[in-house]
């Protein structure tokens, strides 16, 4: 199943770069029942990686208690226009997605 859209913006904010990333992900807790009354299996993002110009600067581990369609904000030290920011995720079912943007 192809992962849903991901959107990110990275903007200079004085001494740091503000990064906001939106992800499409069900973040299922394994407790929800679907329309037919069946339990929807656990399906959530476990790992997040934030890279600046190819170098990893943040590694996150998350649980199913992060909201559906997660929105994360990070702050990077300094930063310059055109810096390449990449955010990728990996979930408990082995699915991944990533997005890249240049600092504006």
């Amino acid at each position: 199943m192809a992962a849903g859209p991901m959107k990110m913006r990275a903007t200079l904010a004085g001494s740091y770069t503000d990064v906001r990333v939106l992800m499409t992900h069900p973040m299922e807790t394994g407790q929800r029942k679907d329309a037919e009354g069946k339990l929807v299996p656990l399906h959530f993002i476990q790992n997040l990686t934030v890279k600046v110009n190819g170098r990893t600067v943040i590694e996150g581990q998350t649980s199913q208690a992060v909201s559906r369609n997660p929105v994360f904000s990070f702050r990077l030290r300094g930063g310059a226009k055109g810096d390449k920011i990449e955010v990728s995720w990996l979930d408990n079912q082995g699915e991944t997605n990533s997005t890249e943007t240049a600092v504006a």
Binding site: G4, K7, L22, V40
Partner: protein, 263 residues
């Protein structure tokens, strides 16, 4: 006198608490709006808008939303309005149905297959609405009441707003016609006056965090009717369009704020 002072003093913390509650809720609303999944619905909607579909295998890119074929920017801020090709006043959802059937050649059955989405079954209509309304972000509300049919629609909407019926003898005004009302923790805006209408109308459609879905104005009205214990209105019925028209016109002058994010 002292007794009165003590009574007044004891009531003060209650009113302060109510003020704090309101402020904290506004803070919650502001924080969830900063970076909203609604933007993802807009992205999906744009892709669907440009996707050739139906027997005629065309996209919706030539759809006329009131400002001319294919012009999307600012269109939502001027809907509902009268359309020459259908000789009807139409809101966004009914206009999208017109374009899906006329331009793409799809059957009404196909176009209305899933109007209100759920977690497991998303709605094409909701994605398209998100995209179109997002393109009116910042545009001033300027819904017309010029054409004779627009005048009839506006007046009908106003009449319905105050019309009591259904099992509970409710009208829209029962909840939205008087200041300082609330249901549990939610303040109820007065929709029959500009201030309330502007605040409410310019933040719908909205991504509702409680359902993780983007819900449209048609859905909002449908759900209000459900809550009033009325029979379910037909999707994009004359009544729902008239009501939308009335509230939208009352909101005129305020900038449309694009898809909102709500609880």
């Amino acid at each position: 006198m002292i007794r009165f002072a003590i009574l007044a003093a004891s009531l003060l913390p209650l009113s302060l608490a109510a003020q704090d509650t309101k402020k904290e809720i506004e803070r919650y609303q502001q924080m969830i709006g900063e970076g909203s999944p609604a933007e993802l619905w807009e992205m999906e909607g744009e892709a669907l808008w440009k996707k050739p579909q139906g027997p005629k295998n065309v996209s919706l890119e030539k759809c006329d939303l009131g400002l001319g074929a294919g012009k999307v920017a600012g269109a939502y801020a001027q809907l509902p309005r009268w359309f020459k090709d259908t000789d009807k006043v139409q809101d966004l959802e009914s206009r999208l149905l017109t374009c899906m059937t006329a331009l793409q050649g799809r059957s009404l059955k196909d176009a209305t297959a899933r109007l209100f989405g759920s977690t497991d079954r998303p709605s094409e209509m909701e994605y398209l609405v998100a995209y179109v309304v997002g393109q009116s972000r910042g545009h001033k509300m300027a819904v017309p009441v010029r054409h004779p049919k627009e005048k009839i629609s506006y007046e009908l909407g106003k009449k319905i707003f105050f019309y009591r019926a259904g099992n509970w003898d409710f009208s829209c005004a029962s909840c939205h016609g008087e200041a300082d009302k609330r249901i549990r923790m939610q303040d109820l805006p007065v929709l029959s006056a500009p201030a309330g209408a502007q605040k409410a109308y310019t933040s719908w459609p909205a991504y509702r965090v409680s359902t993780s879905q983007l819900k449209t104005m048609q859905w909002r009205l449908n759900d209000c009717y459900r809550q009033m214990r009325f029979p379910e209105p037909d999707f994009a019925s004359e009544v729902t369009i008239a009501l939308t028209h009335y509230i939208a016109v009352t909101a005129n002058g305020a900038p449309y704020r694009g898809p909102g994010t709500k609880r």
